[in-house]
Symmetry: C2
Subunit: 327 residues, 2 copies
C-alpha cells in the first residue's frame, strides 16, 4: 500500500470543507481564517492501550479517535472546526481497513460539522491515531476553562456514568457478564467503543454561564480533582442520592467481581461533561442541555477549599484515583 | 512513571508562551487568538521508520519531530506560532529520556518562537511523536501553497541536497563509509539527525512573491513532481551544472555502493525549500534568502506541461521516484 495512493483515496472520503478553510488537505499545511478565538487539543488512541482490534470495528476506532478529541472541545464550549489526523499503520492492516477507519471518522466529522483538513500517514508497530482538533468561539472569554469555578457554584453533570467502564468489563470478560440483559450490555459496549462528544451540551453550558468545565475521560473522581485544583476550590459530590449511574452498571460489577464504586466513579471514558454553574442559572442550564438530548444533573457543589469528597451511602467517603485503561 | 507527574515536569521545561496564547498547556484545550490566517500541519516520527534510537540522542529526536513539522510552515511562508505534541512512550523508555526529548523540542521551540501549547502522553509499542504546528500570517493570500506556480517561473532551491540521505547511509553503514573525512561525515549525520526548518528563508521567499513552494521531505524528484502537479505545470531541472549537492555526497555513494543520483535527488529529508518565483524577482530573492544565512540557487524552470524532467550530464534524464526511509 503506497502512502500517496492511500492519501488520495482518503481525500475522496472527506466531507465538504467548513467556511473557515481556505486550503484543505493535500498541501504542506491547511490554511484557515479562524476569526475570534480557537481552542486546540490533541488526543491519541493506541492499540492495546486504548482499544483492542478484536473488540472494535475499524469504523468504531476511527469514530472514537475523533470523538475523544472533540470531547475536549465540548468541554471548552467551542464550536468544532477542523481536525488533523496522524495514522500509524501496522504491517498487517490492509488498505480497506484504513479506509473503513477513515469512514468512521468522516461520518462523525460530517455529523459534527468538522473538516478533516490534514493528516499524516506512516507505518507503525501497532495501530495508532493521533487527532488534533481546532474549535472556535467569537472571543476567548466565551471559552470555558477548568479554572473559573467559584465556591458556592453548583456542580452539574451531563448524562450518566459508568457505562463505558462497564462496557470494557463486558468486552474483556464476556463469560462473567453473559447474564446481563443484551439491551444493557450492548448499550454499555457502545459507550465504550463509540462515545458521543457532548458538543451541543457543552455549548449550552457555556451559554448558561458555566464558570469551569471538564470532560470525563479519566473518571469522575480524578477529573473532578483536576477541575478543583485548576479553580483553586474544593468539591463535594453526594452519592448515590443525586449521581446518575447507567442502568445495570452495578450488575456488571457484581458479575465480574469488580468494585461498583470504582467502576462508576474512578473509571474513565464516559466523556460526559462536568461543569460548575452559578447557582441561579442551574434551572436554565438543565432546560438548555435537555434540549440537546441529554440529561443534566446537579451532583454537588464547589467549596472554599479541600480536595474532592465523594460522599458514599452510609457516610463513607470515596478516595478518587486516576484511571489507566486496559491495565 | 505516572502520566500526570511526567506532564507536570514537561510543563516546567516549556519556553514562555507567545502573544497569541490565552490558555496554554494543562486545560482541556489551548486557547489562542490567531488573528488573520493560520497554516496547520501534522507530522509523525516513528521509531525504526523515521529514526533509530541507537543513532540519535533523545534531544535530537525531540528536535527533529518539531523541525520536520515546522518545515511545512516554512514552506507556506508562515510565522511559527504553536505546537501540540503526542508522545507515545514504550515501556523501556525512562522518564529522564522523555524529559531529554522534550528539552530538544523546547530548545528548537524557543529558538523559533514556537509555543508548546499542548500535548498528550500515552504508552505505545515503540517511540512515536506526532507533532501539530500552527503558523500565522496576516491574511491567507500571504501564505504560499504548492498550487500557484506558472509556466516561465524560475525554480529556486535553498541550501544543498543529499546531505541527509548520505548521513543516513553513514549511520547505517559505518564500516563502508569510514573513509569519509570526519568534518563531512559529521555534517551529513547532523543533516539527517537534526534538520533545520528554513523558516526565515521561507518567509523571505513569500515576501519576494513566491508563487508556489514545497519543502523537500521526500527528495527533489518526488517533491518537485508534487509542486508541478498542484500547479498544473511541468518542471525542467538541470543537473549537475546548477544543482547544489552537499560536499562528499558522491564519495558516500561510491563508498557504500549506492547510486549517487538516487542519493542526491530521490532521497529525502533535506528539508530545503523548493519554490517558484517570477523571473524578475529571482535576484531580489537570492539576496533576501542569503541574508537569512542559507544560499538560494536557481535550478530550473516551470514549463507549460509535462511532468518533472531532471536532465543528467551527457543528455540522460532521471526518472524521479518517491522515497521511503529506513526501508
Amino acid at each position: 500500500m503506497g502512502e500517496f495512493e492511500l492519501l488520495a483515496k482518503i481525500r475522496a472520503l472527506l466531507p465538504p470543507e467548513g467556511h473557515r478553510v481556505r486550503v484543505g488537505s493535500g498541501d504542506d499545511a491547511a490554511v484557515t481564517c479562524p476569526g475570534g478565538a480557537t481552542a486546540t487539543s490533541v488526543d491519541a488512541l493506541v492499540e492495546d492501550v486504548h482499544f483492542r482490534r478484536r473488540h472494535a470495528s475499524m469504523r468504531q476506532i476511527g469514530h472514537k479517535a475523533l470523538a475523544t478529541a472533540l470531547s475536549d472541545l465540548a468541554a471548552m464550549g467551542a464550536e468544532p472546526g477542523e481536525a488533523y489526523v496522524v495514522l500509524g499503520i501496522p504491517s498487517d492492516l490492509e488498505e480497506v481497513d484504513c479506509l473503513e477507519l477513515l469512514r468512521g471518522m468522516a461520518a462523525l466529522a460530517a455529523e459534527t460539522g468538522t473538516t478533516l483538513a490534514g493528516g499524516d500517514v506512516t507505518r507503525a508497530a501497532t495501530l495508532i491515531l493521533a487527532t488534533t482538533v481546532v474549535g472556535h468561539a467569537p472571543s476567548s472569554e466565551l471559552l470555558v476553562t477548568r479554572a473559573g469555578g467559584r465556591p458556592g457554584d453548583t456542580l452539574v453533570l451531563t448524562g450518566e456514568l459508568g457505562g463505558a467502564a462497564a462496557g470494557l468489563v463486558i468486552l474483556e470478560q464476556p463469560q462473567a457478564t453473559g447474564g446481563i440483559p443484551s439491551e444493557h450490555s450492548s448499550a454499555m459496549r457502545e459507550r465504550q467503543l463509540q462515545p458521543t462528544p457532548r458538543l451541543a451540551a457543552g455549548a449550552a453550558l457555556a451559554r448558561c454561564g458555566a464558570t469551569a468545565m471538564i470532560d470525563l475521560s479519566d473518571g469522575l473522581g480524578g477529573d473532578a480533582a483536576r477541575l478543583a485544583e485548576a479553580s483553586g476550590v474544593g468539591i463535594v459530590i453526594d452519592f448515590p442520592t443525586r449521581l446518575p449511574i447507567m442502568g445495570m452498571v452495578e450488575g456488571v460489577a457484581e458479575a465480574a467481581g469488580v468494585d461498583f464504586f470504582d467502576l462508576a466513579l474512578s473509571s474513565g471514558e464516559d466523556y460526559e461533561l462536568l461543569a460548575a454553574l452559578p447557582k441561579g442559572r442551574v434551572d436554565e442550564a438543565v432546560r438548555a442541555v435537555e434540549e440537546t438530548g441529554v440529561g443534566l444533573t446537579p451532583v454537588g457543589a464547589l467549596a472554599q477549599d479541600g480536595g474532592v469528597e465523594i460522599r458514599l451511602p452510609g457516610g463513607g467517603l470515596l478516595e478518587p484515583h486516576g484511571f489507566d485503561q486496559l491495565g
